[in-house]
Symmetry: C2
C-alpha cells in the first residue's frame, strides 16, 4: 500500500493532482491521510481523503464538522501529546502495512516541523519503508549504504550528510562528479549538483545521506529570495 | 567581532533593523557581509554592507555594478566552486576573527540550502564560535554537552536531535518538562515545546541538539499552511 500523508506545510493542488495520477497509475489507488489542516485542504480541492488525523487545533470544531459531514473517518488526538500530528499519521501508516510513504506538504514555514519530518524519514528507512518528503520546490529522501537509482526531472540534486560522515560516495550521471569520496557535517560541498540525465545513481559505502531534489521558485523576486532559474 | 551574514533566503527589513540595533547596542558595531542577492537587499534597504561575497549569479553584472558604485568591497568566486556562497562568507568570518555569527535569511524556499546552512552551524560550534541561523519565523542554534541558558521571546522552542541520540536532556522553564531524558532521530517528541518565561535553560549530557525558536506566520491562511497563533 502506498500512503500519501498530506500535512500542513506548503503544497500546490496542480502538482499534487499530477503526483496522485502518477502513483495511481503505477500502483493501485494510494491511501490518502490528511493531517489536521491538510485534511481540509484535500476536501476543498476535491481530492480523496481516506482518513483525517491530528488534534485539529488548526481547523477547529467547524473544520472537524466539515470533515465529518464528508464521511471522513477521524483519528483524533489530545492537543498535549508527545508526537507531532504528522508523526501520528506516520505511525498509523507503518502499523497498517504501508510499503511506501509520501509526505506532501511536509516542508513549510515552521522550520522545526520541517526538520522533525526529515527525522521521520529516518524512522521509515529503519522500518524498510521508502519515504519521500516534499513541497512544491523540494523532494527529500534519505539513503543508506548501497547503490540507489533515482529518476529525476528536477534541475538540482543536493547531497547533504545526515550522519556525521558519509563515506565512499560515488555518483553516476551528475555534472559535478564524486568518486569514493566523503561528505561531512559542516561543509556544503554536495549542494546544488545537477543531474545530466533523468536516470542517475548514487552509491554510498557507509552512513546516511539526504538526497534533495530541488528547484527555485519561479515567481520569486531575485532580490528578495533565491536565484531564479528556469526549470529545464 | 560579531558578524552578520545576510543570505538569499527569507528576511524582513523591520526585524533585521531591530536585530542590528539590538546587537549594535550590546557589542560594538557588527560587521555585515552580504551574500549575492543578500548584498543587494542590504543596499536597497539602506543597511550597512561591509563586504559582498559570492559568485553573484543571482544579481548578475548589473547588480555587481550597483554594489561597486556604493564602494562595497567584493569577494568574488567562480560559479563552479565546491562551497556554497554562504559557506564562503562563513569561511571569511571564521578566518577573520569572528567571535559570534548570525546568518540572517539562511532559511528559505530551497530546503537543501537551508539544511546545508544548519550544517554550517555545526562547523561554527566546532570552532567555538556561537552561530545563529534565522529567518522571520525561525531561529536555529546548535548546542553540545553542558548547560545552555537561553533568553527567548518566541512562542515555541523545539528540540531536535542533530546527533543520532542526544542523551540526558534536562529542561528548566519549559511547559513540557524533560529530566535526564534522551531524544533520538525518528521521533518528534521535542517539537513545539513552550517556554514559561523569557529565561530558560537546556542541559545536555552527550550529543548535539538543535534548538529552534519559532513562531507561526501570522498572515498565513490556516487552511493552506501552518496553524495561526498569536505571538505572545
Amino acid at each position: 500500500m502506498l500512503v500519501f500523508i498530506v500535512s500542513g506545510g506548503e503544497k500546490e493542488a496542480g502538482s499534487f493532482a499530477e503526483l496522485l495520477a502518477e502513483y495511481s497509475d503505477e500502483n493501485d489507488k494510494p491511501y490518502v491521510i490528511g493531517v489536521d489542516a491538510g485534511a481540509l485542504w484535500l476536501v476543498r480541492h476535491q481530492f480523496p481523503c481516506d482518513l483525517a488525523v491530528g488534534d485539529f487545533d488548526t481547523i477547529g470544531e467547524a473544520g472537524v464538522a466539515l470533515l465529518e459531514a464528508q464521511g471522513i473517518p477521524l483519528l483524533r488526538a489530545e492537543a498535549e501529546k508527545a508526537e507531532t500530528d504528522t508523526e501520528m499519521a506516520l505511525d498509523w501508516a507503518l502499523l497498517n502495512g504501508a510499503r511506501s510513504i509520501v509526505i506532501e506538504g511536509g516542508i513549510g514555514s515552521r522550520f522545526d516541523h520541517s526538520l522533525s519530518n526529515v527525522s521521520l524519514i529516518y524512522r521509515c528507512l529503519r522500518h524498510g519503508v521508502p519515504c519521500v518528503l516534499q513541497n512544491p520546490w523540494n523532494r527529500v529522501r534519505l539513503i543508506g549504504p548501497g547503490k540507489t537509482r533515482l529518476k529525476t526531472r528536477w534541475p538540482y540534486v543536493s547531497l547533504i550528510p545526515f550522519s556525521e560522515v558519509v563515506r565512499g560516495i560515488t555518483l553516476d550521471g551528475f555534472y559535478y562528479p564524486l568518486r569514493e569520496e566523503d561528505l561531512s557535517w559542516g561543509y556544503g560541498r554536495g549542494v546544488s549538483n545537477e543531474p545530466l540525465r533523468s536516470d542517475v545513481s548514487i552509491t554510498v559505502q557507509s552512513g546516511y545521506l539526504l538526497v534533495i531534489e530541488s528547484r527555485d521558485p519561479k515567481s520569486r523576486d531575485p532580490e528578495h529570495g533565491d536565484p531564479v532559474h528556469q526549470d529545464p
